[in-house]
């Protein structure tokens, strides 16, 4: 359960951060430049992908309907966290994304194998 929870949290953060940073105003806020269309596309795809991955992970740990509820609740937490980081610690918000992306992938694989 600990590993699953970790993977869900990191996956949800990845999704929120990726989707958030794909927006013009937030990309500029963090990186200081206008985003290239390629970056935006990459971030958006990653965001949606990890959104779905989080759902999949939630359903692994709980019966279907309950998993969906966990999914919503976890995103409440991660959306708020990312938004606060954006407001107060821009650098950290993107650095964290660099970390959570591989961490999620790794832990999700471990969850699947375990």
């Amino acid at each position: 359960m600990g590993l699953l929870l970790f993977s869900i949290l990191t996956s949800a953060y990845t999704a929120m951060a990726a989707l958030g940073l794909s927006m013009d105003k937030h990309f500029e806020q963090v990186f200081g430049t206008e985003p290239k269309p390629l970056y935006q596309r990459l971030l958006q795809s990653t965001g949606w992908l990890y959104l779905l991955l989080t759902l999949w992970l939630c359903i692994q740990g709980w019966p279907l309907a309950i998993g969906v509820v966990v999914w919503f609740g976890t995103f409440t937490l991660m959306q708020g966290s990312f938004a606060l980081l954006l407001a107060y610690k821009q650098r950290l918000s993107s650095v964290l994304l660099w970390a959570t992306l591989p961490l999620t992938t790794l832990s999700a694989v471990l969850v699947e194998l375990g």
Binding site: L5, A65, V69, V70, G73, T76, L77, Q79
Partner: protein
């Protein structure tokens, strides 16, 4: 009415939000607390034993409790035996054996006696002090929909009306927010009004699915009170018409089958006996042997426990119920899981039933329900969240707190927006002042009152008659006192003082706990009774949050005083220039 659709929706959002904001803040605060009802009650009854450090497996625990039930003379004539295991389920920190007597003439239910058992020795726990009577978490839960001091029916209607208006506020809020997707992560700090708006928007969007669900499902709880004409207009206004509707509904939704009404299996027997007259089974048993005697014929029940724990996992059995055989039905053993596997509001979903004499598994009740019934009971189930394990329950608590913050930021936003316009008509100012003061009185006042509720629990003598009511009175007395204070002071000072007082009240609670009981953090953390420890920890967290708010108010009022002084100096200069 206004120029555009969006503008009229904004207007509607503002006024529906304002009118019901204060009542709804109370509903949200007590509602959020209700997700920890049993933990709160246990905190408020410090005489109860803590969770044992080493929890033996289900079979061992059952064996201990079953021995007690078999040997005690008081339990032999009972209508049912229940063993509540120490498990991962909520409110399952201790092993206990209980027996329920048959209802006395005039009673709906028989008395239940409970014996707590020490899991290390198998012997009953002798409580050194009797457990104090308390209003507990249940009072907060009840206040959440039925308020207090008002007749329940009226209160339920008031809360219902506020809930409907909240639904309007949420939907209009979403509709009115043009760039809701673009603003999804937006929070601009230190920009005055803009920051308040961003905060309100961010919080509202953050748990939007939760708010929609909570509001709509809240209405469903008293469906027929809130839409009283719906069924009568369709079926007729006489009582028999209403009964016809209900019995038709039972059949058409399939719940009749599931509840075991009119024959067949069903949910846990206890639920059925609690159905009372509806099942029509009471009083029909033709003098079967008492449970104690029947138990001599039972198979080795412990084996069934061990099997089930293997199947479900350690700590996943909440309780075991044994009911005697009666005419037409063999004696049953029912094992209830820690958590239901469905979001529907259901009693003991997933319960396994066994024939107590043979050990044979009994077929589960048919569970095909009509879609409408699944929807309705799912809504109710989602609202209560009883199916939620630890992680999900914390998410519920966070969402509930965010709801309180949503309402609070909304109320404050209303006043902040209109503060610059104070120079207009005198009447306008009075209305604005009223809202400002009500905001302090409600938001900071209720926070203080909640802390006072717990202070009262520790300070009121444990053996005082009617102390439960006095705990509740303390909540409202504290609230009233702080409300009076807020009305008598300038707004910023009222905010600063009331928030500081609330913060201190919460932060000192764990200390008060340590001074007055044996259930403080030192004990609960050591004993790894996390549920009980988390109550104290949440008190500290609430205190810190309120303290942070108080500090921000203090800083802001410092800035405001300076800028007001600057502005009035500038105004004086400007006016002399004009002259």
């Amino acid at each position: 009415m206004k120029q555009s659709f969006r503008q009229s929706m904004t207007w509607l959002h503002t006024w529906t939000g304002l009118v019901v904001g204060w009542v709804l803040f109370f509903v949200f605060v007590t509602g959020t607390a209700s997700y920890a009802t049993q933990e709160i009650t246990r905190w408020m009854q410090p005489e109860r034993p803590m969770q044992p450090l080493l929890v033996p497996d289900a079979a061992t625990q059952f064996e201990m409790a079953y021995q007690q039930l078999r040997s005690l003379p008081q339990s032999q004539q009972a209508q049912s035996w229940t063993v509540n295991l120490a498990s991962d389920a909520r409110n399952s920190s201790a092993l206990s054996a209980s027996w329920t007597a048959a209802p006395a003439p005039g009673e709906r239910r028989g008395r239940t006696e409970t014996l707590y058992i020490d899991t290390s020795s198998g012997q009953p726990i002798e409580l050194t002090e009797p457990v104090r009577e308390t209003a507990g978490g249940r009072a907060l839960l009840r206040m959440h929909y039925a308020l207090h001091y008002i007749p329940a029916d009226t209160a339920i209607l008031i809360v219902g009306l506020c809930t409907m208006l909240m639904l309007v506020a949420i939907v209009t809020g979403v509709v009115a927010h043009k760039k809701i997707i673009k603003d999804f992560f937006t929070y601009r700090q230190q920009k005055g009004l803009r920051s308040w708006l961003d905060a309100h928007n961010l919080i509202s969007v953050s748990a939007l699915p939760f708010y929609l669900m909570i509001t709509y499902s809240g209405l469903l709880f008293f469906l027929y009170s809130y839409m009283p004409l719906a069924v009568p207009l369709t079926y007729g206004f006489e009582p028999e018409h209403k009964d016809a509707y209900y019995s038709e509904l039972m059949t058409q939704t399939g719940s009749g089958r599931v509840l075991g009404l009119g024959g067949g299996g069903g949910g846990p027997r206890q639920a059925q006996t609690e159905q009372g007259g509806r099942s029509g089974r009471e009083g029909r048993s033709a003098r079967p042997l008492p449970l104690g005697q029947q138990a001599e014929q039972f198979t080795d029940l412990t084996v069934l426990l061990a099997q089930t724990e293997q199947l479900w996992g350690k700590g996943q059995i909440r309780s075991v119920t044994i009911t005697p055989g009666a005419r037409g039905q063999a004696a049953q053993l029912q094992i209830t899981p820690a958590y239901a596997d469905t979001i529907r509001r259901s009693r003991g979903a997933g319960t396994l039933s066994f024939n107590a004499l043979t050990g044979q598994a009994l077929p589960a009740a048919p569970s095909d329900l009509a879609a409408a019934e699944v929807f309705g009971s799912s809504m109710l189930g989602l609202h209560e969240g009883l199916f939620a394990g630890s992680w999900l329950r914390w998410l519920y608590l966070v969402s509930g707190l965010l709801g309180c913050a949503m309402i609070a930021t909304g109320l404050v936003l209303w006043t902040v927006k209109r503060r610059p316009k104070l120079a207009k008509t005198g009447e306008y100012q009075a209305g604005h002042q009223l809202v400002e003061k009500l905001n302090v009185a409600t938001i900071a006042g209720l926070s203080f009152a909640l802390a006072a509720y717990f202070w009262a629990n520790r300070l009121i003598p444990a053996d005082l008659d009617g102390r439960a009511q006095w705990e509740i009175h303390s909540l409202f007395l504290a609230w009233g006192a702080l409300a009076l204070y807020s009305f008598s002071r300038p707004v910023f000072i009222a905010w600063r003082d009331c928030l500081s007082l609330s913060a201190v009240a919460f932060l000192l609670l764990p200390l008060l706990n340590a001074l007055t009981t044996e259930r403080h953090l030192g004990q609960t953390l050591g004993q790894q009774d996390w549920a009980l420890a988390s109550v104290d920890l949440v008190f500290i967290l609430l205190g810190l949050m309120l303290g942070w708010a108080a500090v921000k108010v203090q800083r802001k009022s410092g800035v405001t005083k300076r800028s007001t002084a600057t502005r009035s100096r500038a105004a004086v200069v400007a006016s002399t220039e004009v002259l």
